[in-house]
């Protein structure tokens, strides 16, 4: 049975106290120009260079939920869980291609969220709203899942067993702390905390990969045990649990899930926020080459699923706790590491949940403030008012996510996150294709978006399996191929947009006004706010050197 471990708990609390202190102190880190401007709170002054961006984007994209859910999937189903590695490999060439234009136009036009770009590019308030609403809708369950990640750690160290408020208290305290320092420090808090998170993650993974396989009899043995389990028949479904490599029938699903997730990741508001916060255009391309270091870590963490499978005590306790594979990684730490190091590893996961939760709530707050509040409610809001509204919106997002995690059952959050991935990808035509062409008509894009949202939701809802009546998987059968719903919906989206663009053009429905200029997409403005004071139309070599 699971026992409360005081040493593990103390290490975890110490790490939590440290990052909370850093979170509050970060408000004084690299103060920029006008502190009341949304650029400062919402994008850390848009001044993050290569080094800070690397930690921020890494800390933000590779969430704690990924670190729990991916090995859990590998633990339960084998090779299928490795799609996460494929997708985080191919996402970087994609960022390399689209990222610089996305950054440049936002910098040149002062956008802080993708919704503003869609509005400005296509001259359509409705499209901007659609992008913002989709982003917020997709982000809320994603934040809730970070809490699910924390919960599985708390369960394994023996907290969160009782009933009522006592069970939820640790989670509420943790989230209240994040909410408070995000409110005060904005994006600077997760950027600084990301340093701690990543140090802990790298240390944990390196130690685990060097130490655990030896104790378990080597990798050959680990894969052998996994193979035996996966090929045995699951009594519930009458089929094998999974497979050690992707079977021919699953190849299409695997590839489309990887591609869809990679494209979706790129339009998730928290990833866009990380890109916008970069100081210079070339930082983005450099990141595309440097961020795969985290992908390697993710790949090794995915293998933790097999390591956990090879420890009989972990299997027994996963079974004893409602057959929840999400406990496999924290249990692996508890059984393989000394108590104090299990505390370090658990802290890596808990802090790993706090960083993305903070960035996601900021990203959603930026979307709300610029695209919904300023467009619909108070068009003449000052920048100080914008910042105030964004701060409050970030609190609301966190409380909402906490409500999700505590009130609704976990399956519901996971289903919603699955839907979130499908939904958010439907902003791809407006946000990414829009970077290259505005051939699409604004109303056609709105229609395409609406059709794809409805289709995706229904297709996911109707998916059933022997254990779940709805939302059983994220894939559906199209022309005999099992395909990720988000990809099918995206194709539908683009097709509808194209057809209606032609129809609207032929019938002479008025096009929107494009406020961007071709030069905006390749702009690389001076990062320092003082640049304008120097009147640096053509900066001399000296002014460069001075920086």
């Amino acid at each position: 049975m699971i026992h409360f471990n005081a040493v593990t708990f103390t290490v975890l609390i110490a790490a939590f106290a440290l990052v909370t202190y850093i979170g509050f102190a970060s408000v004084r880190w690299r103060p920029g120009g006008d502190l009341t401007h949304l650029n400062e709170w919402g994008l850390g002054g848009r001044g993050f260079g290569t080094f800070v961006s690397w930690f921020l984007l890494g800390g933000d994209i590779y969430t704690a939920y990924t670190f729990i859910a991916v090995p859990a999937l590998v633990y339960a189903t084998g090779a299928a869980g490795f799609y996460a590695l494929s997708y985080t490999i191919m996402v970087f060439p994609i960022v390399f291609i689209f990222g610089p234009r996305l950054w440049s136009v936002a910098r040149a036009r002062g956008y802080v969220s993708p919704g503003e770009f869609a509005r400005g590019r296509f001259g359509s308030q409705g499209l901007g709203l659609a992008v913002a609403a989709t982003g917020i809708l997709a982000t809320m369950p994603y934040i809730a899942l970070q809490l699910v990640g924390i919960q599985s750690v708390l369960t394994v160290i023996g907290l969160g067993q009782g009933n009522g408020i006592l069970r939820d208290l640790p989670l509420i305290i943790a989230f209240a702390a994040v909410a408070a320092y995000t409110y005060i420090s904005g994006l600077r808090a997760p950027a600084l905390i990301a340093f701690v998170k990543d140090t802990l993650i790298y240390v944990t993974v390196i130690v685990a990969i060097l130490y655990i396989p030896g104790r378990l009899g080597g990798w050959s043995h680990v894969f052998g045990v996994a193979q035996n389990h996966l090929s045995s028949v699951n009594p519930k479904t009458g089929k094998p649990f999974g497979s050690i490599v992707v079977l021919p029938a699953g190849e299409w699903a695997y590839a489309s899930l990887a591609l869809g997730s990679a494209l979706a990741l790129f339009v998730y508001p928290h990833a866009v926020t990380g890109v916008y916060a970069a100081k210079r255009r070339d930082v983005i391309r450099k990141q595309a080459a440097m961020l795969p270091a985290y992908t390697l870590v993710l790949g090794l963490i995915a293998l933790f699923g097999y390591l956990a499978r090879a420890v009989p005590a972990v299997n027994a306790e996963v079974k004893a706790n409602g057959n929840n594979p999400q406990l496999s990684v924290p249990l692996l730490f508890a059984h393989m590491f000394p108590s104090w190091f299990a505390g370090v590893a658990d802290a890596a996961i808990v802090i790993g949940a706090l960083v993305p939760a903070a960035v996601m709530s900021i990203a959603a707050a930026n979307l709300f403030t610029r695209t919904i509040y300023k467009e619909l409610i108070r068009p003449y809001a000052s920048s100080a008012e914008e910042t105030r509204v964004a701060k409050i919106a970030s609190l609301v997002m966190k409380v909402g996510a906490l409500g999700f995690a505590l009130e609704l059952n976990k399956t519901f959050s996971i289903n919603l996150q699955l839907l979130g991935g499908i939904w958010v990808l439907q902003t791809f035509p407006a946000v990414v294709i829009g970077l290259y062409t505005r051939w699409f008509h604004r109303y056609a894009l709105c229609l395409g978006w609406a059709v794809a949202m409805v289709y995706g939701t229904i297709a996911a809802y109707r998916n059933s399996s022997s254990v779940q009546s709805h939302f059983a998987t994220s894939s559906t059968s199209v022309f005999g191929h099992i395909t990720y719903i988000a990809i099918v919906a995206l194709i539908l989206n683009v097709a509808v947009s194209a057809v209606f663009t032609v129809i609207f053009r032929l019938t002479g429905v008025q096009d929107g006004y494009d406020e961007t200029r071709p030069a905006d997409y390749v702009a690389d403005p001076e990062p320092a706010p003082s640049a304008s004071a120097r009147g640096a139309r053509a900066p001399s070599r000296d002014s460069l050197r001075a920086r």
Binding site: H37, N39, G49, T50, A79, F82, L85, S86, I89, M90, F92, P93, F96, I97, R107, A108, G110, G218, H221, V222, F223, I244, V245, V246, P248, E251, W252, Y254, A255, A258, R280, R281, D282, V283, R285, A288, A289, M290, P292, T295, L296, G299, L300, R517, A519, D520, V522, A523, D524, P525, E526, P529, A531, S532, G535, A536, R537, A538, P539, R547
Partner: protein
């Protein structure tokens, strides 16, 4: 609304460079998209089935390819200069904030 930015001095790349970049990026995307190629157990490496070690090796390979592309696309003026000086092209002070 910010006034339109003056035309940025965009580095014009030779067709050979653009082709090379396109090929390298396609290879790195296809490497993980072409599942039938790596969905197999043999040959094994240090106890790892091919499916696993191939994907783990693909990570640094993609990283190196992206880095080469980054170097190829870097504006000429910057070569040899300290890596942080990307500022000069297309300076639009009025475009920074609105």
């Amino acid at each position: 609304m910010a006034p339109p930015a003056p035309p940025a001095k965009r580095a014009v790349h030779r067709p050979a460079t653009v082709t090379a970049v396109a090929v390298m990026l396609s290879v790195s995307i296809m490497g993980s998209l072409w599942v039938p190629f790596f969905a197999r157990t043999q040959p094994e490496l240090a106890g790892f089935p091919f499916f696993y070690w191939y994907q783990l090796i693909l990570v640094p390979a993609t990283s190196v390819l992206c880095w080469i592309c980054y170097l190829l696309l870097r504006p000429k003026r910057q070569r040899g200069a300290p890596s942080r000086g990307a500022g000069p092209q297309g300076t639009t002070p009025q475009g920074v904030r609105r």
